[in-house]
Symmetry: C2
Subunit: 388 residues, 2 copies
C-alpha cells in the first residue's frame, strides 16, 4: 500500500443517502465521494492542490449536506440542549451559533457540531460523523424534559474563500455582510428558504447556506454558481490541507468518543462558570484537576511532500542515540502544506512528548521520518477561528 493508494468504492443499493445537491455535483464532474453520516460527501472535482489554491484566492462551494441536523424543540429545549454540552448556552442569543462539543458521561467527545439557536427553545446541531440523534433520543428518555427531537429537512452547503463575501452579498444583500462570526440570518432566495451563517471549515472567509427544502437543492446550487460565475466560483471538496493549517480537527480521527476535550486542545469549551448540570461535568472536572496523560500535538514531519495519511502512522520518541524508542502514539492527520512547504499534522502522544520542540520519529508508508512538535495552528495563528 502506498501513500497514494486510491480506494475504489462502489455503492451497492440505495442504503447510502444522496444529498439534494447530488445531481448537481455529478453534473459538475465530481470525481470522488466519501461516506459521512450515511450519505455521500463529494471530496474532489479537481487536483487537491488546485482546489486548495482556489480556496485561498477565490471562492469554492462544498456540498456538505452530510452535516445532518438534530433539531431540538419543545418547552424544555433550552434546558435539554444545555445538558448536552459543556459550553454555557445561556450566553448564546437567538440568531447566534456556536461551535460546541457534545460530551458523554465520561467526558468523551460524542460530536463537535455547529449549534444554531433559532428560537428560545429551538436549536439545530449541524453534525460531524456520528448518530447524535440516537444519543439525544437516548438521553431524553428518562430526562423528565419535554422535547421533540428529529432530523429536519435541512442541507448545508459551504461557500468559502476570500471572494465568498461578494457571492453571498449578491445573493442575500448587504444584511449578510454584517454577520459576526457564528451568527446567522433566516432568509430566502426568491422563495427558497435558507439560513445563512458566518461559519466554515476552512480558516478562510466563508459562509454556509442551510437549505430548508430538499426538493430545491439543484435550484439553489445553480443560483449560487451563477452569482459567482464571473468570480471563478467552482465546486470543491472540503480542503484537508487548509483545515490542518488552521488547526481544525476532524471528528472520527483527530478526536473520537475515546478522547476528552482537554487532550485534543478543546479544554476552552468547558465553561468554568456554567451553572447547572450537564453530561460529563463531573468527569471533566476530575480530568481538569488531574491533568491528561496524552495530548494531540502539532507536528512537522521532515522530508518531501507527503500525501494525506490514509492510516494512523506510528510515532516513536527519539532514542538517546538519535534512533527511535518505543511506539508512544500515532499521527492522526498529516499533509503537505504547499505554502509552508512543510508536512504538518497532529500526533496523539503522552504529555511528556507533547512539549514544543520534542523530537519524534514517524513511520510513514515511505519509511521512518524525523518529526518535531510545533505550535498549532500552523498558519496565521493570530487569525485563528474565533472561539465564540
Amino acid at each position: 500500500m502506498t501513500a497514494t493508494f486510491d480506494m475504489a468504492l462502489i455503492q451497492r443499493g440505495a442504503r447510502l443517502r444522496r444529498s439534494p445537491y447530488f445531481d448537481a455535483t455529478l453534473r459538475a464532474g465530481c470525481r470522488s465521494y466519501t461516506v459521512y453520516n450515511h450519505m455521500f460527501l463529494p471530496t474532489r472535482y479537481d487536483d487537491l492542490h488546485a482546489e486548495y489554491e482556489r480556496l485561498l484566492t477565490g471562492v469554492t462551494v462544498w456540498d456538505v449536506s452530510v452535516e445532518r441536523q438534530v433539531e431540538i424543540k419543545g418547552p424544555d429545549a433550552f434546558e435539554f440542549t444545555n445538558l448536552l454540552t459543556p459550553r454555557d448556552l445561556s450566553k448564546c442569543a437567538v440568531g447566534q451559533g456556536k461551535y460546541v462539543i457534545v460530551t458523554a458521561d465520561d467526558g468523551g467527545i460524542v460530536n463537535d457540531p455547529v449549534l444554531l439557536r433559532l428560537g428560545e427553545n429551538h436549536f439545530w446541531l449541524a453534525l460531524a460523523d456520528s448518530d447524535v440523534l440516537l444519543w439525544a433520543k437516548g438521553v431524553a428518555l428518562n430526562s423528565g424534559l419535554d422535547v421533540e427531537l428529529c432530523e429536519p429537512d435541512v442541507s448545508p452547503m459551504q461557500v468559502q474563500g476570500p471572494k465568498s463575501k461578494e457571492v453571498v452579498r449578491r445573493l442575500f444583500g448587504d444584511a449578510v455582510l454584517g454577520l459576526r462570526y457564528y451568527w446567522f440570518l433566516e432568509t430566502d432566495l426568491d422563495g427558497i428558504p435558507v439560513v445563512v451563517t458566518r461559519t466554515g471549515w476552512s480558516g478562510e472567509v466563508g459562509y454556509e447556506i442551510y437549505l430548508r427544502d430538499g426538493s430545491r437543492g439543484v435550484e439553489l446550487w445553480d443560483r449560487v454558481m451563477d452569482a459567482g460565475a464571473d468570480l471563478g466560483i467552482a465546486p470543491t471538496g472540503p480542503s484537508d490541507i487548509r483545515r490542518i493549517e488552521a488547526g481544525i480537527l476532524n471528528y472520527g480521527i483527530d478526536m473520537t468518543l475515546d478522547n476528552n476535550p482537554y487532550e485534543v486542545g478543546l479544554g476552552w469549551q468547558v465553561d468554568g462558570d456554567k451553572e447547572g448540570d450537564y453530561i460529563g461535568r463531573e468527569a471533566l472536572a476530575r480530568i481538569a484537576a488531574e491533568g491528561t496523560r496524552r495530548r494531540l500535538a502539532g507536528v512537522e514531519i521532515a522530508g518531501g511532500p507527503l500525501d494525506l495519511n490514509m492510516t494512523r502512522w506510528p510515532v516513536r520518541g527519539e532514542g538517546s542515540g538519535g534512533g527511535g524508542g518505543e511506539q508512544v502514539g500515532v499521527v492522526t492527520s498529516a499533509v503537505w502544506s504547499p505554502r509552508l512547504k512543510r508536512n504538518i499534522g497532529y500526533a496523539m502522544v503522552p504529555v511528556a512528548f507533547a512539549e514544543i520542540g520534542t523530537r519524534l520519529r514517524v513511520a510513514t508508508p515511505d519509511g521512518e521520518r524525523a518529526a518535531s512538535v510545533v505550535r498549532r495552528p500552523f498558519v496565521d495563528p493570530d487569525k485563528e477561528i474565533p472561539k465564540s
Copy 2:
C-alpha cells in the same frame, strides 16, 4: 444516471477505519468497498453473479468486521439489555443468540443486531449501520442501572454456503456441527480467540467467526482460506441477490428509524408475553391495536434484468385505464434473481396497495415497469431463516 452507475469513491485521510482483515482483502483483490459503521466493508472481488453462484454451491468468506459490537456488562446487564428490545431475553440462554430489533420510544427501529448472550450479565450486539453505542450510553444515563458499555475488540467474518459446514468442522472440530441456529461456541484456533456462531445474512448454511484479537486478523483469514482451499473457498461481498431472495432486510434502506417493526414484517419480534418494561412498549402496543398505515411488500418487477437499485424508485398504483395513478410509495431494494429469472424486491406502500396480487407501476432508471405484490421470501419460503 444509469442503473449501472458506478461511483468512484476515494478515501481521504484516516477517518474511516479498516478491518483487521483489511490487508488480506486487498491482497485477495477486493475491487470495491462501501462504508458501514465508519469502516470499510468489502463488497466485491468478482462479478456479482459469479459470487452469488459461489454462495449457492460452494463456500464464501465475507469480511464483516463492520458489524461492530456493543458490549454490555455489569450487575444490571441483563435488565438493561432486556430494556433495549421488544424480544423477551429471559428466553435467551447463555450460549444462545437471537436476531433482535432495538427500538426507540416511538417504536422506530434503531438497529437490528444479532445478540449473543455470553454470560448471565454479558451481551454483545453485532450491529447494522447505526451508532447504537451512543444510543445505549444515552439510555443508560438516567436508567439507574449499573452497566458498562463499550465497543470491544471483536471483528466478525462470515463463512457462508453449503460447504461452510465442512470448513468450520475442519477448523473447530465436530462440536461446531451440533450448533443450533443462533447458538454459539467460545473457542480458539491455536490460540486465536474466537466465538463461532451458527448465523449469517445469506439464507444459506452459514457460520460467523467473531475474532477477539484484532492483531490476528490476517492470520485467522489465512487459516480459514487454507481450510477450504480444496473446496474452492473464496472471499466475496455479502450477496444482495441472495438476501433479497431470502426475504432478509437491509437496515438503512428497507427499514430505518422512521419505521416500526409491524410495517416491515418484523411484528413477530414484539413478544406479547414479555414481562416488564422495554423501550417502545407503549408505542408498539398502540400501533398493534391501530394497525399500520403502510407496509413493506414483496414485489416482482416485470421485464429484463435490473441492476440493484441505487436510489429509491417511485411506485404508483395502477390507474383504472392501466396507466399509473399518484405516487404511493417507493421501492427500497430490488434486484434480478438469476434462478427465479425475475426482478424481485421490496416496496414500502400504503396497506391498501400491499395485498398479494396488487398491480403497481415502478419508475426504474430505464423507464416505468409493471410490478405486482407477491409473497416474501421469494425463494424456499419453507426454509425461511428460523425466527429464534
